[in-house]
Each structure stands twice: as structure tokens, then as C-alpha cells.
Symmetry: C2
Subunit: 318 residues, 2 copies
């Protein structure tokens, strides 16, 4: 199988590159603009004959048209990782999510490539408090441009699948964390505490409560669902069965960094930023019925990812 991974030098993308290249029959092309992706995540493959790297941007339609030739399966992970930035640069997600996704689909159509995995997220559901959202939840009223443009991208994928006989697997992920993460609350806390180990500024009031899933579980879910399902458009929530607050994450980071007497400062309000969704609850019946559950719960995933980011030893869970 010949895979092309957009955002393949990024956090989730580079992790799936690792996984796919474990199998000798797979060939992998990484397509990345290195805005948030890092060469260090994939440089070990640069001399691998089954690996190819293309430095390029999905906004360059002619380049992606050319690059995509002769692949069978597209994994689309390229995205804007900074959700809050849309408050000042309102067209950021429009370009990096919707237009990028459209260009990719158009390149697929022109090259008769039929299969795509898309990395969506809980942002499509908007701010619905403690409601556990199943995949058929509605009405969908996203509260951030990030969520809105994920939903717009899902919709365009659905239209292309129907109009041009393609097939898609759309995953609405919880907060994905792990070794190569380039953003996110745990990542931020480590960086802040390395600079200033006595004080930690927390956005909002720290009670924001969401599911955090380890990237290894995410890769596992993608490959499991893609193998087991065969609808034209396959939409699945992927999350842990539990939740963890920002305050609890802060405590784990402090403990793993062996710090003491850290003073918490809160920016206040329920939300980390305008458009942030403070509470996220997934309904996971659909993926459970298919036979998949996460290996790590949120607390385990956070602890593991913090240790990985700190380059501490981690033990794989059986």
C-alpha cells in the first residue's frame, strides 16, 4: 500500500509514519510544510527506500496534485495546531483546514485516488456542556473557527465521496497527547515550568474537563476502524472513557518534574480563550460496539505523555 500523510512530520502524522513503516509492504510519503512539523521526527527514514519526503503546502494545489500521484491511501493530518489564534487571524482555519482539505480532495479526484482518513475533532460539536455527544449529535454549532472549519472539511469530504466515488474515515478525536506533541496544555505547562519553576499560569479557572487520549491509542483506533468498516463515509468518535481537569494535569506535570510549592495563577473565567469549550463529553458507543477501547485512560495517558516529553522512562501497558 502506498500512503501519503499530510502533516506527516507533525505530532500524529509522524507517529503513524512510524507505525506504517513497521510493515515491509507499505510505502510512505510525508507531505508537510514544516510550520509545526519537525524534521527530527522523521529524519531516521530519509535513507529508507520505502520513504519519501515532500516539503510543501496544501495551499499549493499544483504541487499536491503532482505529489499525490500513484498513492492508494491518504491520511490527512495537516492542520492549524493553534486553536486560539483565530481570534486575531480569523481566516487561519479557513485556509489551513477547509481550503487545504478541498485542494487535497481535488488532487485525489484528478488522480483517481479513492481513500482518505481525516483527523477531525470534538470542536464540531460546539459547546454543549455535559452532553455526551454521539456521532449523530445535532444541531452542530461550533464555537470556534477551528471546530467550524473541521466541520466544513468533513462536509466537503462527504460531498466528494458521494460525487466522485471516494471513501472516507473521519475521526473526531479527543485531545491527543504523546511524545511528539507540539502544542497542548501539558506541553505548555512543561515549557512554562522549565522557565519559571515556582509559578504556573493556568488559562481559565483550571476546572476545564476533557478526555485526553494517547497518540498510540489514536493510531490503533484509526487502523482498527479503517479495517473493520466500509461505508462511504465512516465517522467515529475516538476518546478515552474518562475525563481529567486542567488542574489535575498541572499536578501531574509538577509531580513528574519533581517540583514543589508551585503557585498557581489563574487568568479566570470558565474558558481558556474565547471559543474554547471547557467541558467535552463523548458518547463512545459506536466505536465500542465495533470492538475498540482505549488502552490508557486520560490520567494514564497524561502521565505517560508528560514522561515522554520529559524523556523519562515509560513502560508499555499490555
Amino acid at each position: 500500500m502506498r500512503y501519503l500523510i499530510t502533516g506527516g512530520a507533525g505530532f500524529i502524522g509522524s507517529t503513524i509514519v512510524d507505525k506504517l513503516l513497521e510493515d515491509d509492504i507499505n510505502e510512505v510519503t510525508v507531505f508537510d510544510n514544516f510550520c509545526s512539523g519537525k524534521l527530527s521526527y522523521i529524519e531516521k527514514y530519509l535513507n529508507n527506500k520505502r520513504f519519501k519526503l515532500i516539503k510543501g503546502d496544501l495551499l499549493d494545489l499544483s504541487l499536491i496534485k503532482e505529489s499525490i500521484k500513484d498513492h492508494n491511501f491518504i491520511f490527512h493530518f495537516a492542520a492549524n495546531p493553534d486553536i486560539s489564534k483565530a481570534m486575531i487571524e480569523t481566516d487561519l482555519d479557513l485556509r489551513l483546514s477547509i481550503i487545504a482539505t478541498y485542494n487535497l480532495l481535488e488532487a485525489m479526484r484528478l488522480n483517481r485516488i479513492k481513500k482518505i482518513v481525516y483527523s477531525s475533532g470534538s470542536g464540531v460539536y460546539g459547546d454543549v456542556g455535559l452532553t455526551e455527544t454521539p456521532e449523530d449529535f445535532g444541531p452542530l454549532m461550533p464555537s470556534s473557527m477551528y471546530g467550524a472549519c473541521k466541520l466544513g472539511s468533513e462536509a466537503i469530504i462527504s460531498a466528494f465521496c458521494n460525487m466522485f466515488d471516494m471513501q472516507s474515515w473521519i475521526f473526531r478525536f479527543a485531545n491527543v497527547i504523546g511524545k511528539n506533541q507540539t502544542h497542548g496544555v501539558g506541553f505548555d505547562f512543561i515549557n512554562k515550568l522549565k522557565k519559571e519553576p515556582k509559578q504556573l499560569t493556568i488559562l481559565g479557572d483550571g476546572t476545564q474537563s476533557k478526555s485526553y487520549i494517547h497518540v498510540n491509542d489514536v493510531i490503533d483506533a484509526i487502523l482498527f476502524v479503517a479495517k473493520k468498516t466500509n461505508e462511504i463515509v465512516n465517522i467515529y468518535n475516538v476518546a478515552t472513557d474518562d475525563y481529567i481537569t486542567v488542574n489535575e494535569i498541572a499536578s501531574i506535570v509538577i509531580k513528574e518534574m519533581n517540583l514543589e510549592n508551585v503557585i498557581f495563577e489563574y487568568t479566570g473565567g470558565k474558558r481558556g480563550w474565547k471559543g474554547d469549550v471547557p467541558i467535552v463529553r463523548f458518547n463512545l458507543e459506536k466505536i465500542h460496539k465495533l470492538g475498540w477501547k482505549s488502552k490508557y485512560n486520560s490520567k494514564e495517558a497524561v502521565k505517560r505523555s508528560i514522561r515522554e516529553m520529559l524523556n523519562k522512562e515509560v513502560v508499555a501497558k499490555k
Copy 2:
């Protein structure tokens, strides 16, 4: 109140201009690129001091930013009227729907304009057969770029409302018909039969069955709902309570044109074109509960619109 109507020289837009200018306290600006809009629909207002015409395109962000100043309420009707064209020009709806809507919202944000009415449609629901879709139906898997980009636009409106304290009324309309319509099945049948009165080519098998609503009912619903509701994002289906097939519409057109012995030719298949949704069923409980029902049913609306297009006398229903 100072209204700006995008697509204000088009079918639905020009009809609401008529309605709004009936009230002396209203001022109306029409913003239209005249791709499908017609000067003849609004030229009677060109010397009206409460009316202003701007020939411009929503893809020109700096023009809409300037044009929108000092308005209180935006009615966003500009759209690509040709749903099937996306099969060959796949980015048409992306530009004319999503990017145009984003530009409009950005212009509103920069000018602190808070209220928008958006003309969406049944296309957001995808092809779900006889299922009567309520506003909270899911999962939303549009089967055309037209529907996908309506959904993407809804999502971006929702995000802007949440992030920048705006308020929106999103209407998912059935097939809207009436005097100034510039496209649609009845419109096409009249034009075809004027050229060739002995034969009529029908796309698909003629059994496509949908709700057709008269534009006067649509304007009535918009003003009724905007007055009665006050959520941040207000989403409403607007349709008649019944349905009519393409074959029945053909018969009405032939009768109203006083033709006989017309031979029907079918292009075949269930759909008029790839991405067409052959059966559309709305759940209308939400708008019924609010106290609104259409004055004309589908058959009455079709008959009335055909007579209006043929410049025949119509009698208003009380």
C-alpha cells in the same frame, strides 16, 4: 433599521427588498455581483432615497468591508444558484458560499455589525431518503458541494457568533419558487417548452419528490422567526407540509402553458445529476411550535409560481 442584502438583485433577495421597503423606517442596500441577479428586479428603487445599490462581489473583502459600514442587519442570500455545476467546477461553492460568507462575517466583525440572516438549505442533510429531518438531525453528510458548503457556512457563522458576540438566523429552505426565480425545475420546463412545445426532457426519472415553497411564504417565515426568536444561533427548517414530484410539476407547467400531447423524455436514473437528492422530507415541528405555517402548499406554490413566470394573473390567498 438599515439592512444590507447580499444577492439583493437575485430571486429571494429582491423579494425581501420589496418587503422591507414597504416600511418607511427601513433603509436597504443591495450588494450584488449580477451573476444571476437582475437589475430589472430592483430598478424601480434606483431613485428611492431609502435604497442604495452596490455592484460588487463578496470575494472582494475590501469592498464588502467598506460597503457594510453603518448597517444594522445583514441578509445573506448571495449564492451559486447552479448546484450541478460543481461536478465540473469543484471549487465553485467553496468560493461562492464558504469564502463569500467568511468575507461577509469578517466585514461584519470589523464594523461591529451583530445580526445576520443566512439562507441555507436542505442540502446540509445529505441524501437520507424518506427520513423527516429536524434541525438537530445528524450525522450531517452532504452529498453535493452545494450542501457541503452551506453546512460549512453555517458552521463558520456559528463560530463567529460565539467568538465575536454576533447573532444569527439560519434558515434551511425547501425549494423556493416564485416570480423572480432565475433557476429551478419549473423555470427550466417553461424555457424548454417555449423552444420545443412538443417534447420535454426530464432529468432523472421524474419521481424526485420534494417540498416547493413560495417565496412570499419564505419572506414571511424569515421575518416571523427573526422577530420571535433570540438565541445566539437560531436554526429553522422552512418548507411546506407536503411534497410534489417532478412529473407533477411538468403536468402543471404544460397545463398552464395550454399545451397538449407533449412527449416526456427521461434522462433516467433516480437523480437529476450526481449529488442531487431525489427525495427531501423536512420535520417542521420547530417552526410550527413557534406558530408559523406556509400559506401555500407545494402544488399551490408551483401553480402560482408558474403563472407568475408566465405573467398570468394570480390571486392572493388569504
